[in-house]
């Protein structure tokens, strides 16, 4: 390259850099704003739980007491409704019975516990969550524009994208009218912790990718990895709550008397069977996508590193995570492993996922995270 051409290149890049830096600034402001709004949402969820505690619900206890059960038996399958003098037969109603041996506990009403004021705070919290999600999404978008590539070139970007997607999944489930508002408090808490970590410890000034990371397989692989992580995370929250609720129900069924705080919280959560089913469906739904993520990663590695599978620590831990989730799915089909044991496996599998992200990036060096002399630096990135 001639000297003149080199100077041209220098001026061109620094001009572009100035523009990009201002975008990066905007992104940072948006991320901090999102954190502020998440904090407000967090307090609103707290308020929902606190106001909700005024109402006294005890559906679980009622359902688990034999006498209460005997009282409400049999129901008509077809009801006749009087409408303007003529009898209109309604369509036959479908009777659903829980599988034999399963508890038939109704779902709790949610954090607000039926309390009007609690419900109001809950709605405010959801609105704030949606607002924070939009602001954070803007932050991720401007970050992407400032670096002119997908926003997952390093752990900071990975974290902000990850939390955005996790909250996005929650907002989507709400938009689909799914009963998931009970997730709100747990989600915002961890999102705040994660963002705090991102802006303090993991912050990296914006920059472009080195050629080794610049491939469309990277976009496919990492975007699905982030999505899977976010969904697995939502599933894991469901699993933890299932374990708590299940012990609570077990205690009641044994005739125990849980403390008033536990009662207040647990009575408002969905039934353990619902939580179990929720986390199963979430995990089962993303498992094929996680399988795809690993395969896409292998294809990318095949192009970038000359082998599609080489037991690099990141690959190894993706594999471990995959096998652990496969084990969880198997456990649910194996007598003696359903219920709590399977739930522990699901948490173990999510732990593997977490370690794959944080642990491997921080403690273990491998092709994914260290500078390869001669090829130029493969900077430490999420995947």
């Amino acid at each position: 390259m001639s000297l003149a051409a080199a100077t041209d290149l220098v001026t061109a890049t620094s001009l572009a850099a100035a523009k990009n830096e201002s975008l990066a600034e905007i992104s940072n402001v948006l991320i901090y704003s999102a954190m502020a709004v998440y904090t407000l949402a967090f307090f609103a969820y707290i308020a929902e739980w606190i106001f909700g505690s005024r109402s006294k619900v005890a559906r679980t206890a009622a359902a688990l007491t034999p006498r209460a059960q005997a009282a409400k038996k049999t129901a008509p399958a077809v009801t006749v409704k009087q409408e303007g003098g003529t009898a209109v037969l309604e369509r036959p109603k479908v009777v659903v019975r829980a599988a034999a041996g399963a508890r038939d506990v109704p779902d709790g009403p949610g954090a607000h516990g039926g309390d009007a004021q609690g419900d109001l705070y809950g709605r405010i919290a959801v609105s704030l969550t949606v607002l924070a999600f939009l602001v954070e999404f803007g932050g991720v978008l401007t970050r992407a524009l400032s670096v002119q590539r997908a926003p997952w070139g390093n752990m900071y970007e990975f974290n902000i994208t990850f939390t955005t997607v996790a909250v996005g999944v929650y907002v989507l489930l709400l938009a689909l009218k799914k009963n998931v508002r009970w997730l709100g408090l747990f989600l915002t808490t961890t999102v705040l912790l994660d963002l705090g970590l991102a802006v303090t410890v993991l912050y990296t000034a914006s920059d472009q990718l080195v050629p080794a990371l610049d491939s469309y397989w990277l976009y496919i692989h990492v975007s699905t990895a982030i999505l899977c992580g976010a969904v697995f995370y939502v599933g894991a929250v469901g699993t933890v709550l299932y374990l708590f609720k299940d012990s609570y129900e077990n205690k009641l069924a044994r005739g125990g008397r849980p403390g008033s705080f536990a009662t207040s919280v647990m009575e408002r959560l969905p039934a353990s069977a619902s939580l179990d089913k929720f986390s199963y469906r979430i995990n089962a739904a993303v498992f094929p996508l996680w399988t795809f993520t690993i395969i896409a990663g292998a294809i990318w590695a095949g192009d970038a590193w000359g082998r599609y599978w080489g037991w690099d620590p990141k690959e190894t831990w993706s594999f471990i995570t995959w096998v652990a989730y496969a084990g969880y799915l198997h456990a649910r089909a194996t007598a003696g492993w359903k219920g709590r044991k399977a739930a522990y496996l699901a948490l173990l599998a999510f732990g593997c996922w977490l370690f794959n992200y944080y642990g491997v990036n921080i403690f273990v060096s491998g092709k994914h995270s260290y500078a390869d002399v001669g090829l130029g630096a493969l900077t430490a990135i999420g995947f």
Binding site: A77, V96, A102, P211, G255, G306, Y308, I320, A324, H330
Partner: protein, 604 residues
């Protein structure tokens, strides 16, 4: 020790009287239900039966059968899966020979004793160690032992017909009923038509229609497990027949894919040299540009090389560009661009001015700014000032961007050719190139070499910029750093058969998995019988593999359509629960029949 009900919630006997009784009642109810459903409830999957590990009757065959049944049970498959993930962990924490040899060597140096222990248990080669192999081989034997009978069973289910309706439809998890004035035969016909239109496999069995749908779930599950086997075999095949080698090529030079041309070469156990894909290529140019500013200053932005290649011995010539993520693929082989460096052109003349050496000398990079080192060797044709045959050797140190003499460092400041400087130190004597021991072109054997001395009696060395010439002491000749700095590219040639099979297996695995996890296999029965009062009672029931919102929804849907064709008749309301009202206290109560119990969880 625990007893386990069919649905798997565990109750430890003796925890408290109430719980134990409760558990027993549930267990009984579960068994009752299964007996009630009989054939109808079975065969909804091909999962192996869970039998308790009864010890076999004596005899080798008895034991072998017992062992085989254990190995192919779901419980052992699960344990093996967990073991596999556990066994994969050490390989990510201990450096692996197959992944990063230098780190293994480093580890050996620092932990001598531990390294010996690790060697014994194969911790430097976890993924080819005996114990790791044992786990996955057992898993795959278990898998095959599980898949084959399941496949036959599934074929049998496909050949047969959905099982007829159980005696008491009310026992099924999803149930509805109504009375109609329509003729029972008509109702059954209508139900048959409706179910078939919805792509159920349906047939008339006695007074009821039996139908089943969602066979793709089982097919998907079997396809997924089969695909895993295909992937494993493809992977093993690839490892056995794999070959991989490196070659450094200076711009303008070429390569033909034969063993002798490689700088280094490794291959799998079953690889044969004749398997090498025939192709050749010339390197036209290498282009690298680098980030000029910012925190990542110096990292490559463009990094590519232009090749002219031909497949086969006399193939047509084609031009292509190879980049870091974009290898050139020829058959099962791929050509990767893996490294890059500089090859300054150096001319050496003897004392009389005769050119004895003129070539591009590839130098190996030492850091990311391409500070490089190597040697220039003049083997033939040189005669010293006395006219005696001798060999010359120069240690070369090169920086593409020199920091300036006042920077206090000889290290390169930037990877591009901004301010190239070549430093040479000179030796003469015997390079021992003919000793028979293969020599590295980047190192000099100095045992028989003597230093050229400068006026202070020190080793003669000089820094040159392009175009500059240095004169060796005592009329020994000159060395010119030509105004021509070429670049070289390092290539890795990998030949790994079976990649197509692995990819195909992976795609089938994903598709099968999606089918297995998203499709519900379920049965629907419609029974219509004429009552003594001339009114027909229609009963519909559904059974899915797991409790799911879709089965009740679908049954409601079907019932709605059928109801329009066989409208309700007024009269005594049939009760959903009446047949088993005196049942155990765990019989489900249905306060609001339309509310599907436990339905906080929707499909995501």
């Amino acid at each position: 020790m625990s007893t386990t009900s069919k649905t798997g919630r565990e109750h430890t006997p003796g925890e408290s009287g109430g719980a134990a009784a409760d558990a027993a009642a549930r267990g009984r109810a579960a068994r009752d239900q299964d007996q009630d459903l009989g054939e109808a409830g079975s065969q909804l999957s091909t999962a192996p039966k869970e039998d308790l590990p009864n010890l076999p009757a004596l005899g080798v065959i008895g034991w072998a059968r017992w062992f085989w049944r254990q190995l192919t049970s779901m419980r052992v498959a699960l344990l093996l899966l967990l073991l596999l993930s556990l066994a994969a962990i050490p390989g990510s924490l201990v450096p692996q020979t197959g992944v990063d040899e230098t780190r293994v060597a480093d580890f050996r140096e620092r932990h001598e004793f531990l390294a010996q222990v690790y060697d014994k248990v194969g911790l430097f080669n976890v993924y080819s160690s005996v114990w790791f192999s044992a786990i996955y081989i057992l898993l795959f034997v278990s898998l095959i032992g599980c898949i084959v009978p399941r496949t036959w069973q599934f074929v049998g289910q496909l050949r047969g017909r959905p099982p007829g309706a159980p005696q008491r439809l009310t026992r099924l998890p999803v149930y509805t009923t109504w009375r109609t004035e329509a003729d029972p035969g008509q109702v059954r016909e209508a139900a048959l038509g409706l179910l078939r239109k919805r792509r159920f496999r349906a047939h008339l069995a006695g007074d009821a229609v039996a139908a089943e749908k969602g066979y793709l779930r089982e097919a998907g599950n079997l396809a997924f497990h089969l695909a895993l086997i295909v992937m494993l075999i493809a992977f093993a095949w690839g490892q056995l027949f794999k070959s991989e080698g490196n070659k450094l090529i200076v711009e303008g030079n070429g390569f033909a894919n034969t063993l002798s041309q490689y700088d280094d070469f490794r291959s799998g156990n079953l690889f044969d040299v004749a398997d090498l894909e025939p192709f050749s290529f010339d390197v036209k140019s290498f282009t690298g540009t680098y980030e000029r500013s910012g925190p990542n200053k110096g990292t490559p932005r463009t990094y590519e090389t232009e090749l002219v290649y031909s497949e086969g011995a006399y193939g047509e010539e084609r031009t292509t560009t190879v980049r870091v993520n974009e290898p050139l693929q020829i058959g099962d082989s791929k050509v990767y661009l893996v490294s890059h460096g500089y090859a300054p052109v150096v001319t050496v003349r003897d004392g009389e001015g005769k050119v004895v050496f003129k070539d591009a000398v590839p130098l190996l990079p030492l850091d990311s700014n391409v500070t490089s080192s190597g040697v220039v060797k003049v083997l033939d044709g040189y005669r010293n000032a006395e006219g005696k045959k001798e060999q010359l050797g120069f240690n070369a140190f090169f920086v593409p961007t020199f920091g300036g003499s006042r920077s206090g460092t000889m290290l390169s400041q930037f990877p591009a050719l901004d301010y190239p400087v070549l430093a040479l130190s000179a030796y003469h004597g015997d390079l021992k190139a003919d000793s028979g021991i293969p020599q590295s072109v980047y190192q000099m054997d100095k045992t028989k070499m003597k230093e050229f001395k400068d006026s202070d009696g020190e080793l003669f060395k000089k820094m040159l910029t392009p175009g500059e010439t240095m004169t060796l002491p005592d009329g020994a000749g000159t060395v010119t750093f030509e105004n021509d700095i070429r670049e070289w590219a390092g290539f890795q040639m990998v030949q790994e058969p079976g990649g197509g099979w692995a990819l195909g297996g992976a795609l089938v695995a994903i598709a099968g998995l999606a089918g297995s996890l998203f499709i519900q296999r379920r049965r629907v029965w419609v029974r219509a019988v004429g009552g003594p009062d001339g009114v027909t009672v229609v009963e519909m029931a559904g059974l899915g593999r797991s409790e799911s919102a879709t089965v009740p929804e679908e049954l409601g849907d079907l019932a709605g359509i059928l109801y329009d064709q066989a409208p309700g008749a007024p009269g005594p309301e049939p009760s959903a629960e009446s047949p088993d009202a005196p049942d155990a206290p765990d019989a489900p109560d249905t306060p609001d029949p339309q509310a599907v119990p436990a339905e906080g969880a929707e499909k995501p």
